[in-house]
Symmetry: C2
Subunit: 455 residues, 2 copies
Amino acid sequence: MADDRTTFLLDEDAIPTHWVNIAPDLPGDPPPPPLSPRTGEPAGPDDLAAIFPMGLIEQEVSMEPEIAIPAAVRDAYKLWRPTPLRRARRLEQALGTPARIYYKWEGVSPAGSHKPNTAVPQAYENLQAGVRKLSTETGAGQWGSSLAFACSLFDMECEVFMVGSSYDQKPYRRSMIQTWGATVHRSPSDLTEAGRANASHPTGSLGIAISEAVEVAAQREDTNYALGSVLNHVLLHQTVVGIEAIAQMEMAGDRPDVIVACVGGGSNFGGIVFPFLREKLRGDRDVRFVAAEPAACPTLTRGVYSYDYGDTAGLTPLMPMYTLGHDFVPPPVHAGGLRYHGDSPLVCALVKAGLVEARAYRQNETFEAAVRFARSEGIIPAPEPAHAIRGAIEEAMAAKEAGEERVILFNLCGHGNFDMAAYDAYLAGTLEDPEFSEADMNAALERLPAAPALG
Amino acid sequence: MADDRTTFLLDEDAIPTHWVNIAPDLPGDPPPPPLSPRTGEPAGPDDLAAIFPMGLIEQEVSMEPEIAIPAAVRDAYKLWRPTPLRRARRLEQALGTPARIYYKWEGVSPAGSHKPNTAVPQAYENLQAGVRKLSTETGAGQWGSSLAFACSLFDMECEVFMVGSSYDQKPYRRSMIQTWGATVHRSPSDLTEAGRANASHPTGSLGIAISEAVEVAAQREDTNYALGSVLNHVLLHQTVVGIEAIAQMEMAGDRPDVIVACVGGGSNFGGIVFPFLREKLRGDRDVRFVAAEPAACPTLTRGVYSYDYGDTAGLTPLMPMYTLGHDFVPPPVHAGGLRYHGDSPLVCALVKAGLVEARAYRQNETFEAAVRFARSEGIIPAPEPAHAIRGAIEEAMAAKEAGEERVILFNLCGHGNFDMAAYDAYLAGTLEDPEFSEADMNAALERLPAAPALG
């Protein structure tokens, strides 16, 4: 029977001791390997060693079902973990639904999202390898601020290449990065070849910023690179979210029938889903999974399953994933964290296998859900998890229609304190509602790299 | 012995059932009464009934030591309460101090500060009285956003007069207010006589905004006024902070030797201090209290103890308090919530009685403490509680100097997500460090209203 409380808290002793590695539990053949962009051959650990420490590379390719969380990382997690799980009772009432809606609230981290869950272990593994400086790129700044925070905990240096348009228009995430002691460069910068080659680019792009950060890490002995999503080890680190949620749903006396999370690169989705998915794959649980993405960048719902580059410039390994084409440029929706042409290979393989259902939502219907949530539950969500809220409300209304109880869990992965301009536009009725361009996508898909076809 | 955990959480069952009313425990004569601005005679409940509901007026003058928290208010508190209490282990290490530093973290509320603790019961008591619309003023927006949030929970209307300069320069708090469904007017507006009389004022002021909000509430049958600090019932509501902190310090196995909080109008200070103070006054506890204020607006350290108006225009009752003069205009420091010429009569009486020690800090040394905190504990604090952090660090360094253990507790009453421009200026070395003008203060003090002298 469902517990009558609203908030389910775990003591810090309940911070997970191990991350869940979903790879060994995946059904069917192992996922196709990433390919070297130079040789087209499967990329091995050596291809990554120039920019990643061996500790993270081992996690990236591990087939162990559980990987121990280092004591220093668990200690740092104590600054904000375990995060609360809440039942959205006021939202349920507002919807008049018989469904029970729960959300995991990751916005309580210092940086305001789930990103520090992986920033901290990435910084730590680099420090263990003797690396005291990290470079990375950031778009709107969620990832850059999280890595800056993590580096401040270990007295490490951090250098962030921030997409020029965000650097100019969203200065406050930049200020956060600097407050935690990191250096921020407007990208394109004059510090790298990739930046100088694009010096005249007016706004910069995530592709250019990645190229700058990777170049710095590849060329300097003392510097490594860190990525905030997509890769296996990043999703691995995020599974603390789902592990805690399993314990908290037990406290609540409820079992989710469906779990909803937004997908950009896939780390917040994998983080909450994989621990539940493992139980499902082992026959211990019956639950559906919904991946919510923006209709302006509908990777999982409209993309093709193919090998493609992870970045715009074609410097990264080729990865097996749903893609809109590596040089497809999505319209500038406010959910900047979801504007990615591809997705985590792990998440894509699950969609391909029919284990995850993907849905795309328009920008205005997403903000409508966000405002509804804010006016019932209080929290003003970031535009990215607003997609998950939209999906959760859809499930709750379907349950009402069917007159059935349904237990819904979603991941509220960040707050909207730095996104209020988007709310302004929505409330003023001036928020754009862009559709993706099928013609642009098709043109980009024609430029997919030559690589073996995927089944 | 001190517990080895970092975070001390209470379950929602531990949300307090009663607020602590410090009035009946105060030593000596009862505090002098407020005086009507029209008659100069003691102001009674009737003087307040035009703009406040009787439920709040009764709380304002109550001599009951405990006042029950309505079930609907406790239910709303569940959206963010109980708030965490944390031991600042990383800050202790960075300081190399033998002191143990704890902080109560009020920034987890939807509005990001302690203000909703009183916004919710104020909205509720008005609703009980049949009032469905509240008006208020806001400076930088903390209070306005908190009242908007509270009104959204009870389906009440909310009208906020926002100081013009903040309305123009800090649009994101305004966006929050609107996201929660409230209406925001730039003050001076053309909706009130007070606004129209000041139509040419370029920036507006808190004084004008208060006058507009009070005028609207006094003239409209269906509208009441709500104030975010200073008054007894506001401090009463905030005592949930200290009541929880007492329980959490017990979990931590520690007893605070000193409690530090910033003071603007006094509500965050009273909130954490009064429950501990009551135990001290009853002989059950030995603890010091430190009130931290900005050197740019040094009410408690440099003001005179006298009757003065609560607002600039002289519309409110005369209150017995430390004041810099009701028309003294403090320099524009970023801690907008601390730029008040007076202070809560209750807090002032405690300073006068020697039960509270007041200290004033300059803006740059305050931000130095804030950045130190952010780089060790992660959280980027609002400029207001940065004054409390400064005070706590001072206590910790004194303990180090003396080679003694000392247990320090401070109230971290809000996050700095909407204050990043101030951090920008600090990190760039361009943050001003204004002193208050003694000449301006003396001139303002010469304009104190005629009223009985205070002992």
